[in-house]
């Protein structure tokens, strides 16, 4: 038994070291990379991955495919920008207000369509995004098609979330990704996570064990929309300008891709997918769009098709069952067998109770 405990400890330590190293690399990148363009790509990776994690809570965990996440993001950006510019509320407070408003709107809009089953949610999410965009284009209060600019006063200020350089946005974006990842991981292991996954697999089976499918689907939509709104706030503060183009359908699709490519069944999927697909897309744009306009999109589509054709469960879906993972687990992390991990965990809790 003692050997088991020791083995688990070694494994935990190795895991911490590896994760710490990865984190350290990300923390050190701005120290060595000075090119604003490269930093911009990383910031893009951070907030698009976060948006994709928001999508994944619905699409991956609950099995409700949303094609309107750009609209939540856009609405979040608009609401927090309006609070900042019209009511002069502190940006951080505005972010929270934006999240609350978007959460409420999403909950109210989608309550009726969860009474129906099937693809209705997807259809309504598309309609919702487009309707919202049209509404904003035609509303003077929302700045019509010309959008809203955030005033840029002189000097960096953390309190106003306003920086001249890219490094602060890089770090804040990194913190955002990590916090949202931890939140999603927490949800996955909680009662809500089990409810959502049960609903994904079968709604009747969910009801049979006492899960109210409508209630949990609403919870998922609200949390997902609120995270998207947070991304919207980050985006607005970073670019200092938003317009209705933020909500076009293509943007919603972009929020789906990292999750699908990375592996929608895993909380880590959007992170892996985002780290691969977004730099790829940016690289193709920078390298080829001058040669033949649009070829970057074409190559991107080919890459996407290749992943879906050959790895339909995403990169993580392949990795989790691959020899590579096995090799890393046994050689580098020294992971003990599942039974050992399980036994040690159960023992630890018994010890606590005694």
């Amino acid at each position: 038994m003692n050997e088991n405990i020791k083995a688990v400890r070694v494994y935990r330590r190795n895991l911490t070291v590896v994760l710490g190293l990865i984190l350290l690399i990300f923390c050190l990148i701005p120290v060595f990379v000075k090119s604003p363009y490269i930093l911009n790509v990383f910031i893009l990776v951070f907030y698009m991955s976060t948006l994709s994690m928001a999508w994944n809570l619905l699409g991956g965990m609950t099995g409700q495919n949303s094609l309107g996440h750009a609209a939540y993001m856009g609405l979040g950006a608009y609401v927090s920008c309006l609070f900042i510019t019209k009511a002069h509320v502190n940006p951080w407070v505005s972010a929270v207000l934006g999240m609350v408003v978007v959460g409420l709107v999403a909950g109210i809009i989608f309550f009726p369509c969860f009474i129906l089953r099937g693809p209705y949610f997807t259809l309504v999410s598309i309609a919702f995004g487009e309707a919202l965009r049209q509404f904003i284009i035609n509303s003077t209060f929302f700045g019509r098609a010309s959008g809203i600019g955030l005033p840029f006063k002189r000097g960096d200020s953390f309190l106003d979330f306003r920086f001249a350089g890219k490094e602060p946005y890089y770090y804040i974006g990194l913190v955002m990704v990590i916090l949202i990842y931890l939140l999603m991981k927490k949800i996955e292991r909680s009662r809500m996570g089990y409810a959502l996954r049960t609903i994904r697999e079968d709604e009747d089976a969910a009801a049979a064990i006492g899960i109210n499918p409508i209630r949990y689907k609403i919870m998922a939509v609200v949390v997902s929309a609120m995270v998207a709104a947070l991304v919207g706030f980050f985006y607005a503060s970073y670019t200092r300008y938003i317009d209705p183009e933020l909500m076009v359908q293509a943007k919603s699709t972009e929020s789906v891709l990292p999750a699908v490519v990375g592996g929608a069944a895993y909380v880590e999927g959007p992170l892996v997918g985002g780290l691969i697909m977004i730099p790829l897309s940016e690289f193709l744009r920078a390298k080829y769009s001058a040669i033949l306009p649009g070829i970057n999109m074409l190559l991107y589509a080919v890459a996407l098709l290749a992943v879906i054709r050959f790895r339909p469960t995403g990169i993580l879906g392949w990795y989790m069952h691959s020899g590579l993972k096995k090799a890393i687990d046994t050689k580098i992390l020294k992971k003990p067998p599942v039974e050992v991990l399980e036994a040690v965990e159960l023992d630890k809790h018994r010890g606590k109770e005694a």
Binding site: R197, A205, G210
Partner: protein, 248 residues
């Protein structure tokens, strides 16, 4: 024993558009017993079952649980009342491991686990009880029919029911597997759970049930002990054809 029955069904009728699937059926289930329902294909067994389990409400009639009217309760409210069910067509959570399947059930119902640790520990107990412990890390879609049927029961049991509804839990099993399933159902019953089951396999019904209800064309045609029911001339006619009808 004139205790109130745990389930009492009063004159339930179900019409799907023009078709009357179940017509004016009444019966009651005695607490602590195993009650069975048999009948040929299309007799309305599953329809009756689904009405009692809240999957859809009856067109007419009432259903009582311990004297309380539960006719209009939604399916997801049942585990809170200590009632659980299985499905005829198994509904395992395909992409989850066997353990996760059962952990999900432990989180809900009247005795919902408070923590992840409690849920896992209870799931382990249920898995040991149902004989799935060794297979707990397998994805449920990778298991065969007998184990998936067991998993259906394990998921229902994890909600700690006092009343368990089993919908054709032995269909598709070979004789040895049927024997094992019968033993498991006996064990569940001995632990204090009242059981109501639909079954095609006569052997199972005869050896398990204390009371049997026979449906035919949506109507109840007989009820009683297995022996009484099997010697009922009308039941024999329905199952085996007319005895003297040589010209048929």
């Amino acid at each position: 024993m004139d205790k109130t029955p745990i389930i009492e069904v009063q004159h339930i009728t179900k019409r799907f558009k023009g078709l009357t699937a179940v017509k004016d059926v009444s019966f009651s289930i005695r607490e602590g017993a195993i009650t069975g329902m048999i009948g040929p294909n299309g007799a309305g067994k599953s329809t009756t079952f689904n009405m009692i389990c809240g999957y859809y409400p009856p067109t007419e009639g009432k259903i009582f649980y311990r004297g309380q009217d539960i006719t209009d309760k939604k399916a997801y409210e049942y585990t809170k009342m200590k009632i659980a069910r299985t499905f005829q067509i198994m509904k395992p959570l395909k992409n989850l491991s066997v353990l996760e399947n059962v952990v999900a059930s432990c989180y809900f119902g009247h005795a919902a686990a408070k923590s992840e640790h409690e849920a896992r520990e209870r799931a382990m107990e249920v898995l040991q009880f149902t004989g799935l412990y060794e297979k707990r890390h397998i994805l449920s879609k990778d298991m065969g029919t007998p184990d998936q049927k067991r998993l259906e029961m394990a998921r229902a049991l994890a909600t700690k029911p006092e009343m368990l509804f089993l919908d054709e839990n032995m269909a598709g099993l070979n004789p040895a597997e049927t024997e094992a399933a019968i033993e498991l159902i006996r064990q569940i019953n001995r632990s204090g759970v009242t059981i109501f089951l639909i079954e095609h396999i006569m052997q199972a019904v005869v050896s398990l049930c204390e009371e049997v209800i026979v449906l035919h064309h949506g109507e109840k045609i007989a009820e009683g002990t297995p022996q009484q029911v099997m010697n009922d001339p009308y039941v024999m006619e329905v199952y085996l054809g007319k005895k003297e009808g040589s010209h048929a």
